[in-house]
Amino acid sequence: MADPILSIQGLRKAFGALVATDGVSLDVRPGELHALIGPNGAGKSTLIAQICGDLRPDAGRIVFAGEDITALPAHLRARRGLGRSFQITQLCPDFTALENVLLSLEAMNGGSPDIFSNPRRNAANVAAARGWLDRAGLAGFEDRVVARLAHGQRRQLEIAVALARAPRLLLLDEPMAGMGPEESAALTALLQGLKGDYPILLVEHDMDAVFALADGISVLVYGRVIFTGTPAEIRAHPEVRAAYLGEEA
């Protein structure tokens, strides 16, 4: 099997007496869509924050594309090709949808000190950004200010912003959160189309989407990965059903 693009080894993070991440190990392989599921409070967001560099783990290692990034600050991880979407939308509300994607392209190398050229007139970048907005289902909304986009459209824009820079790994933190069934289905179809192009670590509550998309699933409960397997194995696993799926059904 190919070397994993992302390898988490024995990660641990405690807030006082609360152990939010308790010895988590997890691999995402090239071309794989790996889903991370678990009940609320299981420590999914804390784990994502550590992978992205918003939080430092107390122990353990994070290896990304063969490099130990455990101590690397967040902005350098992003420049290494770690793309992410946020659980709670993080966009620039005063910018248009197009400007948000252009920002993603500009920021890839850390941003430019150029105070003269207008990125909105960079034909190549604008064309690329429009293409991604199109793929994310936002054709026709390029010039709309984010503050005036609907919730579901902002979620789609989050994906376009993350995708535009051709990330080496995509971290999607509950991309379907707050979406209606139709929007969810459309996003599932989009992710289906992306599968294989990018390795993806998907945190999601929408079980239909997870079972439709995932190649592998890890179940996180109280900060620990209690089981990792294929969707079929997850469905059949009694402990997982009790811990998580049982509550959902």
Binding site: L91, P93, R165
Partner: protein
Amino acid sequence: MTSRSLVILIGLALLALVPPVAGALGMPALQGTATRIVIYAIAAVSLDLILGYGAMVSFGHAMFFGLGGYAVAIVAYHTNMGQPLWGWEGTNAALIVWPLALAACGLLAVVTGWFALKTAGVQFIMITLAFAQMVFFILVSLQMYGGDDGLMMDARNALPLIDLTDNRTFYYVCLAVLVGWTALCASIVNSRFGLVFQALRQSERRAVNLGIRPLHFRLTGFVLSALGTGMAGVLWANYALFVTPDMAAWSKSGEFMAMVVLGGLGTLIGPIAGAAVFILLEQLLAGWTEHWMIIMGPILTLIALFGQRGLLGRWVGGRRG
């Protein structure tokens, strides 16, 4: 034509017509008032660059205004007294003195900005204020340069081909600086740099997770803003031929901020109108009562409360220039 370009055109025509109108009306004082407005407007536009577009509330911008002015006056002092400054004879050439003054402001901005940007929010406001107070008290303590009383200059700096001793010419030079600087600021906010700089205002977390290191961009913005404010100080020293520590007082920083908010935060054009209204009101009210701030205060409060986008915000559009 957009309403923004209409406002710019009318404003520019008004400012350009001040000297002939003042001459025709036999009111030379009007030209002096207009010069003060234009110089303050340069500082207000500079502050808007970081306040309106970067949400960096600098409560210490008067230190750059003061330093720019003092740099000009101090060089003039040494040149005229025949006292070399660190072995330098000094000069009256604007093309040497002005860049020197700006370099001093830039250096001060790099140092103070680097420390201030270790923080954000209220701490940022307090640290910029603290640095400005340090500059103020240093200026007060410089007995050689007049201390509290300030420092007089004999003559304006000299430009090749342009006679700055003529008040009308000097006014047009100030106006040209204002127009050029505002145009450059508009280019900055719409540039590749500006895209990132403005993104940091809206969502620092997003920007960092796209690969941005905030300090570099914020510090660059802070220094650019300081250079513009320093240029205003340079022109002020040349206009008044007199600099005092009050140029760096905290109340001066407050005035700059009031002009920006009054005219429209994040519009670049608005703060120019803000400077005009502020100075005209001040002059009008001060002629009526020495407690003019009692009236000015409520006016500022009302505009801040009800004209949420400032005097011009509605017509010139915020942040999307």
